[in-house]
């Protein structure tokens, strides 16, 4: 009888303690959960499509993205490197995106050429309404997987960052 009571109390303490810890964990989780970001972007009106000629890359500051045109197609490419999130600049002389952090290189369509990035650069959907280009910054599409390149992977000139030795 004694033994059962002691067992019961012990089990009670264990369960109660576990519940307390779980409650503390849940409370902290809810309290420290990141606040929902305000809106997370929207539709951004740009110029008419012809303002973006073949081979050019235009930086759109509000959306932190580039509008490029290769092979006649327009692309809205997020500036954020899919590897670890550095801001990737466009290199005018090579016509490629070259990430300064770990040397990933992408062509003007944002497709992966070399470096440690796990995929091509992420993209935003584009549409044309009333002759104006609209980019939806609320939607981010994952970049194309490695080795699925449609466009040219060659540089049109010297690279901005030096070629990795290996």
């Amino acid at each position: 009888m004694d033994q059962t009571r002691r067992d019961l109390l012990e089990a009670g303490w264990t369960v109660g303690g576990g519940l307390l810890i779980a409650a503390a964990g849940w409370t902290s989780f809810v309290a420290l959960k990141p606040l929902a970001s305000a809106g997370g972007g929207g539709v951004l009106p740009l110029l008419e499509p012809d303002a973006y000629p073949e081979g050019s890359a235009t930086f759109v500051r509000q959306g932190r993205l580039f509008i490029t045109r290769t092979g006649g197609e327009l692309h809205a490419i997020s500036q954020k490197c899919p590897h670890l999130g550095c801001a990737v600049p466009f290199c005018e002389s090579s016509g490629q995106f070259e990430c300064p952090c770990h040397g990933s290189v992408f062509n003007a369509a944002g497709e992966w050429i070399s470096g440690p990035s796990p995929r091509g650069m992420d993209r935003h959907p584009l549409q044309v309404t009333d002759g104006r280009l609209l980019v939806n910054t609320a939607v981010l599409e994952e970049g194309a997987p490695l080795g699925s390149r449609k466009f040219d992977g060659r540089a049109r000139g010297p690279r901005c960052t030096t070629e990795p030795a290996d």
Binding site: L32, K33, P34, L35, S37, G40, F59, R61, R64, Q79, H83, L84, G85, C86, A87, V88, P89, E98, C99, P100, C101, H102, G103, G115, P116, P118, R159, C160, T161, T162, E163, P164, A165, D166
Partner: protein, 442 residues
Amino acid sequence: MPATETDRPPVPRRGLMARLRGSTLYRSVVRTPGSDSPSGRALHAFGNVFLHIYPVRIPRGLLRFRSTWRLGFISSVLFALLFITGLYLMFFYTPAVSMAYGDMQQLRAQVGFGQLIRNVHRWGAHLMVLAVVLHLVRVFVHGGYKAPRQFNWVIGVGLLVVTLAYSFTGYLLPWDQLAYWAVTVGSGLVKYAPGVGNVLRDFLLGGETIGQAALLRFYVIHVAVLTVAFALLMAVHLWRIRKDGLVVGDTGVAHDVTARVDDRIALPAAEQADGVARLDDSRRVLGVVHVDEVPGRSRDPDDEVFSWPALIIRHQVIALAVCALVLALGIAFEAPLRDIANPNLTPEPSKAPWYFVGLQELLAHFDPLVAGVLAPGALVAALVALPYVDRNPSRRPADRKVALVLFWAVFLGLVVLTIIGAFFRGPGWAFVLPWEHLYFEP
């Protein structure tokens, strides 16, 4: 240094200090009168809340610098320095995106000694990472993680992780380009943790990007959360050193400073009339130790000295030397402050602080899941598991060839990666020769 153990008669003292020492007020503050006799020296260490961290008597071998290289003590001194300079900095720093960078400039331009305090904080932090790592190496080489000290090794690994977390969170606070992009890359790694990565990263940053929420979170973690964690771990670490005894230096022999109280508690059969077991002249264990469990052989009372003054004076000298070194570094070299953080422009090249640059080098070669999550995770896991896997009880290097070779191989690998990343990498992480152009960010 009076290291003799003879009981000299206390020297009669005169003068103001002697009268002060004899006053009721002084005696109410300082519990034990200092006298230059063995019991006086023992009481000095024993009767003081700070000094009683030390054992009253220590093996003589511990006085040799090479016994521990004093690396643990140096780490604690650096922590104290960082704590104090950090307090000063907190008076002048606001963890807000709109304020932080301006505060750094104000610190430099307007606050008296502001820049020096920041320099000392910065270089002290670098040195602390170095000291903690070297301490780990020293303890490994001397076999200090072996039974019964396994758990204290684990606590030590915890302290290393906390030290690195301190560096990482502190790195963001100046809100300059260096800060912003090092933390972008560092937190970018977290999202590759399988399953929980994205949640974890958003939790750390308080949102999807590094902004106000991230800065505030890093600040709170840096000044409060980690400090509490460090203090708790430190308390256990030091207490366990006292309970488990020390492993002293190159002899490969453990000197058990205090008797180890085994969990198999038993009253010794003999000599318990007064509830006190007399194991030898110098040790009394309160009747709860199985006699066989006490490793008394390694303890030789004739080969011991009093901590006060022999060891404590040495520690004081080392503490002063460490302060002098960090101060000299702070005067000679400015802590870097780049342009204000600009989320649109990644500087060329973007390097992590030197102790993470080896990781960055790995990242350039392997998938981020492997290089950024699995490799460092495996390293920490291996360190934690080490004392439980390596059950070889011997501390002699000749008996531990495999462990030593493996350890040095991994360690040298890390050193090489760090050197390549720190000195041989330029814009775009391309290979450069440091004597042609040095891209190194302290």
